[in-house]
């Protein structure tokens, strides 16, 4: 096969293919042989490799084509990823060699993350090994959907169809365990050049494509032009009288005149021009993949890290998300520790709030943990103080993935999953902008004088079954008897009236709590001791309620663990949730975020209801009663 004849696709984008698999299963040999058999080796390379081998008194070693480091050749092991170009009859390829030794997973990911397709190599004689599985799992995490499994060293198993079939069956079953599949499973001998370019006479039972045919059937990854616009701001330039917003369009397209919404700031402006230098003609539009510079029709203040979108299809706003990540540092990821998070061009500090589960990539089981060791794959809840603009990885990959850094280096990376967490954009938006606050004719001081106590919001949060409603109702009657103005905002009453239009999606739940927070704040302002008893699982929501009532807000954590609440189960809800009849039930299938600075904690797992009620009443008397001085 002549590889250097002019091809119809010359000058088009080469397909990027990564070669992965367990150490010593023959990745580097495969690349060397593939280059030789397609006539892609540069002049003198074969002789150079020959000389290297002779100096070491060893037989010819194809791996030396890509193992450029002396230490790699001396130890016979690939340390770092490399890239090399070649051509088939059909098109150009970039072959990315990724090391298979567990020690160099970071380099495997560095190489594999940019690939559009993968060859996963398994030694037929040695069988499926730890890195065979981990690499398959990571390819899926990295979003590589075109995979050919290559069963190598068939010469060592006498070209046994049974052996091939065993490997094929077990490995494809493993892949299907997380929804992945192999497009092809090709039996080869890289050393002998069988089923690479030439069909092997030794394996007549195999009727599938050769390796090169499998490669040629893969398609380049399409640019996400049809997805919603995402243009992360990379920099703002003021080299001359133009103020240019620079960035790369990660998905979608833009045109002059489009109105852009910047998130998280919420600012908007229209595209005035698409700037460039030394172009044949000025651009009127641009699309995914292009690095652009824009001027806007208004001089709004925006910074690096914001994401521009069209107003009707913006990214999610949130301060918390779940990341399915691979951890790469020698130091484990610890629950409660802080890291730097990078999403597109944004960089903020996050806390690893909770390790939800760690996956065992050997058998795909999951277990609980509080830290993630090196090369661990885990679901981790990450929280930032700042509002983040992001997407779910399954919807828009480039703004749906992140890396974490610690000290000077990247220590992990993963995909964003928002299941169970609401988009906070709705609750961030003030729709009416022509409102003015009106001062009351009655002062707050006057109200307190007449009532004998201050108004307040007592915000009861805790799991279902923790005792919120029971305690709230008893506190209400106790305080009423003592002469306090007091009222309980009850879930069912609110949902049947004020919030009748809301369901139970994460967004609706967030809106439910937002409205209650605002109403409670108004009640408190009118002088009431207002008790709001709601599960309110998200810190962000409670924080917003606190923002509404300000210093009148007192968070009371009605604390009991899931096991205790489930044993009480007054409404039979846990049972139904366990049976899967209630989706996203807090504590069972949706997260509960404990308060980190509650004003009062009443622990109903260790204290009686009577003690708990007394603790709250004491708290009210101590803090809200008017003491004439």
């Amino acid at each position: 096969m002549s590889t250097h004849a002019a091809t119809p696709t010359a000058g088009t984008e080469p397909l990027r293919v990564v070669i992965v698999g367990h150490v010593d299963h023959g990745k580097s040999t495969l690349v060397g042989r593939l280059f030789h058999d397609t006539g892609s080796l540069p002049d003198g390379k074969l002789e150079a490799i020959q000389a290297m081998c002779e100096r070491r008194g060893m037989p010819f070693e194809w791996a030396f084509l890509m193992d450029a480091f002396q230490s790699e050749r001396d130890q016979g092991i690939t340390i770092d990823t490399s890239q090399i170009w070649f051509r088939s009859k059909l098109r150009d390829y970039v072959i990315i060699d990724a090391p298979g030794h567990r020690e160099f997973i970071k380099n495997m990911i560095t190489g594999a993350a940019s690939a559009e397709a993968a060859l996963l190599i398994i030694d037929a004689s040695h069988g499926i090994q730890q890195q065979s599985r981990l690499h398959g799992f990571l390819l899926n995490l990295l979003g590589i959907r075109q995979v050919a499994v290559v069963v190598n060293k068939m010469d060592l198993v006498d070209y046994s169809a049974t052996r091939y079939e065993d490997v094929r069956r077990i490995y494809t079953e493993y892949l299907s365990g997380f929804g992945a599949k192999a497009d092809f499973v090709v039996p080869i001998s890289a050393r002998e050049g069988e089923n690479l370019v030439k069909r092997a006479a030794t394996m007549p039972w195999y009727e599938g494509p050769t390796l090169i045919e499998a490669l040629d059937s893969f398609r380049p990854a399409p640019r996400p032009v049809e997805l919603p616009l995402r243009l992360p701001v990379q920099d703002i330039y003021k080299f001359d009288d133009r103020r240019i917003i620079a960035g790369r369009i990660e998905s979608g397209r833009i045109a002059i005149g489009d109105r852009l919404l910047f998130s998280p700031s919420g600012k908007t402006a229209h595209i005035n021009s698409i700037e460039g230098w030394s172009r044949p003609a000025a651009a009127l539009q641009a699309q995914a993949g292009e690095s652009v510079g824009l001027t806007l029709d208004e001089q709004i203040f925006i910074e690096r890290g914001e994401i521009a979108s069209l107003p009707d299809n913006p990214p999610i706003l949130t301060s918390v998300f779940r990341g399915r990540l691979i951890w790469l540092s020698h130091e484990p990821l610890r629950q409660g520790a802080e890291y730097r998070l990078k999403i597109a061009t944004r960089e903020v500090t996050v806390t690893a709030q909770r390790v939800e589960r760690i996956f065992d990539t050997e058998d795909l089981s999951a277990r609980e943990a509080t830290e993630v060791g090196r090369h661990g794959v885990a679901d981790v809840v990450l929280r930032s103080r700042a509002m983040l603009a992001l997407d779910e990885a399954s919807k828009i990959a480039r703004t749906g993935r992140f890396v974490l850094t610690d000290g000077h280096n990247i220590v992990g990376g993963g995909l964003i999953d928002m299941k169970g967490y609401p988009d906070q954009r709705e609750s961030m938006t003030v729709r009416s902008s022509n409102l003015q606050r009106v001062d009351h004719g009655v002062t707050n001081v006057a109200r307190v004088r007449r009532n004998g106590h201050k108004g307040a919001v007592l915000w009861f949060t805790g799991l279902s079954g923790a005792g919120k409603s029971t305690i709230a109702m008893q506190v209400e009657s106790r305080l009423f008897q003592k002469g306090y103005l007091v009222y309980v905002l009850d879930g069912d009453n609110i949902r049947s009236g004020l919030n009748a239009n809301l369901g139970f999606s994460p967004e609706d739940r967030a809106e439910n709590i937002r409205r209650i927070g605002e109403v409670a704040a108004l009640f408190a302002d009118s002088g009431m001791i207002t008790i709001a008893a709601f599960i309110s699982p998200y810190r962000a929501d409670r924080q917003r309620a606190r923002g509404a009532a300000k210093e009148s807000f007192h968070e009371i954590y009605v604390k009991a663990d899931v096991a205790t609440c489930e044993s009480r189960d007054p409404k039979g809800l846990y049972k139904r949730a366990r049976r899967g009849e209630i989706a996203e039930f807090t504590g069972v299938s949706a997260p509960y975020e404990e308060p980190d600075a509650a004003e009062l904690i009443v622990d109903t797992a260790t204290h009686s209801i009577e003690d708990s009620v007394r603790a709250v009443v004491d708290y009210v008397e101590r803090n809200f009663t008017l003491t004439e001085s």
């Binding site: 890239q83 920099d235 993949g289 850094t405 000077h408």
Partner: protein, 264 residues
């Protein structure tokens, strides 16, 4: 978008990241085809200007045509040009083979310049397809406090998230052309009309495919006298690009040793 558009866009993204994240930044300009493309890409990224110094680490042994080119285009392209001289060959590692020692002068010249100006980032126009040690490089590649490359333990780099935070006393090498091939470079030069030293074009049956110091660089037999002819010639050759660069192949690990010590 064509393949060249895609390559250009990625390089522009890298250059803009470097400019945003790194305070004291300089670009190396060797006067060769790749670094001319790199200067051109910087002007694309920053709308006509190069907002950081462009530095020529001069061995004093370049071809006269290269110096003439430098003087003309540093003016024409409005570059903030820094000229730094290399120390004599006696200052280099005496255990290196002769041509590599000669090249190592540039490593020392660069190191001195980094110290002199306190640069934290050096943009260099290397490509993965040139040479197998370079193929293992990162886009943002950290260097130790004496400029050395710890190639045995490079940090992870993926999804276009680069390691831009670096310890005091160290610097980063930024490689905006890492993903380009020699053929890409020539096609882009043709498309954009980028000026080049005449030595690349055949004269009396010879041309230079890669330019270095005049005493350790040799021409190849060629009749390719135009861009179209050069591109056609490359489509049809299996000779490596750096065949005329003596320093690469004196011993098995000569180039690896040069790069580990900080060569570009």
């Amino acid at each position: 978008m064509t393949h060249l558009d895609q390559l250009e866009s990625q390089s522009v993204y890298i250059l803009r990241e470097a400019f945003n994240r790194i305070d004291r930044l300089a670009m190396l300009w060797s006067l060769g085809k790749d670094s001319n493309v790199m200067v051109w890409l910087a002007r694309k990224a920053f709308f006509g200007q190069v907002p950081f110094p462009v530095m020529h680490i001069d061995t004093g042994k370049k071809f006269p045509e290269m110096y003439a080119f430098r003087d003309r285009y540093s003016q024409e392209w409005n570059l903030n040009l820094l000229l730094e001289q290399c120390p004599p060959v006696e200052a280099t590692d005496a255990t290196l083979p002769p041509a590599a020692r000669s090249a190592a002068r540039k490593t020392l010249g660069l190191k001195a310049a980094i110290e002199k100006y306190g640069f934290r980032g050096i943009i260099a126009g290397i490509r993965r397809d040139e040479e197998s040690v370079r193929a293992k490089e990162r886009v943002f590649s950290p260097r130790g406090d004496s400029g050395q490359w710890d190639f045995r333990d490079q940090p992870p780099e993926f999804w276009d998230h680069f390691n831009t935070d670096l310890p005091a006393g160290t610097h980063l090498r930024i490689h905006p052309l890492l993903h380009w091939t020699e053929r890409d470079i020539w096609r882009y030069i043709r498309r954009e009309g980028i000026a080049l030293v005449d030595l690349y074009f055949a004269n009396n049956g010879q041309r230079y495919r890669s330019l270095g110091d005049s005493d350790i660089t040799s021409p190849m037999a060629s009749n390719a006298a135009t861009l179209d002819e050069i591109i056609a010639e490359l489509d049809d050759t299996t000779a490596p690009e750096r065949a005329g660069r003596a320093m690469d192949r004196e011993t098995e690990d000569a180039f690896e040793r040069l790069r580990a010590a900080g060569y570009m």
